[in-house]
């Protein structure tokens, strides 16, 4: 309904442009700016909510109430924290490699916004349905490792560098299983486009039921890629102070924090799209289904974080290379046989 209204508005604006002979690329850039503004608002609102949710869930898991004083149920807590962080001093260590230090959070944050170009929010609500959909997301995710190494190296701090190297080793160990698990879905849908993948699930069933093994591999690998417990070794507070962002402070630090939650949200919505049929579902409006499915994965990730202990580094590597990678390869081949038969 709203979608149709926006579409007709767009068409009338386009007609105006054509009638006056104004260049159409101006219109394209204007709509793109509106889209990215919408995505930024979506990310920021959700991150504010996610941080509150995480604190509430952790509180209740540990049998305490979590934030309660600021606003109803402490809902305004994150907003207060955001303001506080904005007012904090921005310290750049004297020995830091200034340019790299400043650029590292940017290299981390920008891809986490850019993946939202392809995420389908609802029927026809997607910034651009790129042909290489999933590959686009995977390619953007590969900027994470360089950004962490940049942050760790430029800080001139041993904890930062140790955290960054650990983090990089972990990310590269889980990236291949993650891609292979996504490819299982691609084999079934025969396309890299996210809209085609949703359409394929509407024709058959949710890929969760056709790809149970792939789903488990995807979920574990995605948890590891977003550095969440039990895979939070890179910022293991008890041994590495704060990992790669030890020397970051104030707003510069909060960019990393924002990125972490934006990535969690992106990972959850991609999981919803690939395995739970995205926005499709009966009775409720499509967008509501999208939010429900996304938050299902968000809740699962938070639940796991506050329930399981951190694993050891050798267990981490073994799980990635000796379990997830072979399992993902076999799963992919079996899926291929299943499809061709």
């Amino acid at each position: 309904m709203l979608v149709d209204w926006v579409a007709s508005l767009y068409q009338s604006v386009q007609a105006t442009f054509v009638a006056h002979g104004w260049p159409l690329w101006v219109l394209a850039v204007l709509t793109a700016v509106l889209k990215v503004a919408g995505v930024l608002v979506w990310i920021l609102l959700n991150v504010l909510f996610l941080i509150w949710l995480e604190r509430k869930i952790s509180g209740h898991v540990q049998n305490r109430p979590g934030p309660v004083y600021t606003g109803r149920f402490g809902l305004l807590q994150t907003l207060a924290d955001a303001l506080k962080v904005l007012l904090k001093e921005d310290v750049i260590p004297a020995g830091a490699d200034r340019w790299v230090f400043v650029l590292a959070p940017l290299v981390a944050f920008v891809p986490s916004v850019m993946i939202w170009v392809v995420i389908p929010f609802s029927r026809g609500v997607q910034a651009q349905d790129l042909n290489i959909g999933i590959l686009y997301v995977a390619a953007l995710a590969s900027f994470t490792v360089p950004s962490l190494l940049m942050a760790g190296w430029s800080s001139d701090n041993k904890w930062s560098l140790m955290g960054a190297l650990r983090s990089a080793a972990q990310l590269i160990s889980y990236e291949v299983p993650l891609i292979l698990a996504e490819l299982g879905v691609v084999v079934l849908a025969g396309s890299l486009r996210l809209s085609d993948i949703i359409a394929a699930q509407q024709r058959s069933v949710w890929f969760l039921f056709l790809q149970p093994v792939g789903f488990v591999v995807y979920f574990i690998a995605a948890l590891a890629e977003s550095n969440r417990t039990p895979f939070d070794l890179p910022e293991a507070e008890s041994e590495l102070v704060a990992g790669f962002n030890t020397e970051y402070s104030g707003f510069r630090w909060s960019i990393f924090f924002l990125t972490e939650y934006a990535n969690l949200l992106g990972m959850a919505s991609l999981a919803a799209t690939l395995f739970l049929g995205g926005w499709s579902g009966p009775f409720l409006p499509p967008f509501v289904w999208f939010v429900i499915k996304t938050y299902f994965f968000v809740f699962l990730a938070m639940w796991i974080r506050w329930t399981l202990p951190r694993i050891r580094v050798d267990q981490l590597m073994d799980l990635g290379w000796k379990f997830l990678l072979p399992v993902a390869l076999v799963n992919l081949v079996v899926t291929g046989v299943f499809v061709v038969l």
Binding site: V100, L130, N131, I132, A138, A139, S142, W153, I172
Partner: protein, 181 residues
């Protein structure tokens, strides 16, 4: 000037400047990062050629894996910064002149040879005529590449897996030797 051409010049400028900084930046870590930027620029050029799959793959492999390996290598090695020493006295310079001439001529020769080979390939390939007729868009999509790869180029594809296996084994052998030290 149309927008595609403008975009090409911007992307080409970024990749060339980045490539130039790879050679000239005294900090080797910065050189590695400039190289990453240059790879991103090349991905942009693939995109302008309407080869989006190649652009995605370029970022995935060259930024995600190659740049990471280079950065790891820099962080594991002991070469922090390439420093240029003080100027040696005149007679040493004169004595080393022809030697240096050779040393400078050799990379130039290699570069010229490479450029010549590439230009030769370019004139042979008939890419020049692509300007006249529209690109076969289907051939550049993922499906098009896949279909070609698994029918016409099936053998090279399998050879690629052998090459990858050889690379893996080679890396393991080298790494084991390094670690024994």
């Amino acid at each position: 000037m149309n927008t595609t051409l403008l975009a090409f010049f911007i992307v080409a400028f970024i990749s060339l400047v980045a490539a130039w900084r790879v050679i000239t930046d005294p900090s080797i870590l910065h050189a590695g990062l400039w190289m990453g930027l240059s790879f991103v620029g090349v991905a942009g050029i693939f995109l302008l050629l309407e080869a989006e799959f190649l652009a995605g793959v370029q970022v995935l492999v060259y930024v995600g894996a190659i740049t990471t390996i280079i950065l790891f290598g820099i962080m594991l090695s002991d070469v922090g910064e390439v420093r240029v020493g003080p100027e040696p006295p005149g007679w040493v310079q004169a004595g080393a002149a022809w030697h240096r001439g050779l040393r400078h001529a050799f990379p130039l020769l290699v570069a010229a040879g490479f450029a010549g080979t590439m230009l030769g390939l370019y004139t042979q390939s008939g890419w020049g005529q692509l300007r006249e007729r529209p690109l076969e868009l289907a051939g550049l999509s993922v499906g098009g590449i896949g279909r070609e790869l698994f029918s016409t180029f099936a053998l090279p594809f399998e050879i690629a897996s052998l090459v990858l296996l050889a690379a893996l084994l080679g890396a393991i052998v080298l790494a084991m030797r390094e670690e024994e030290r």
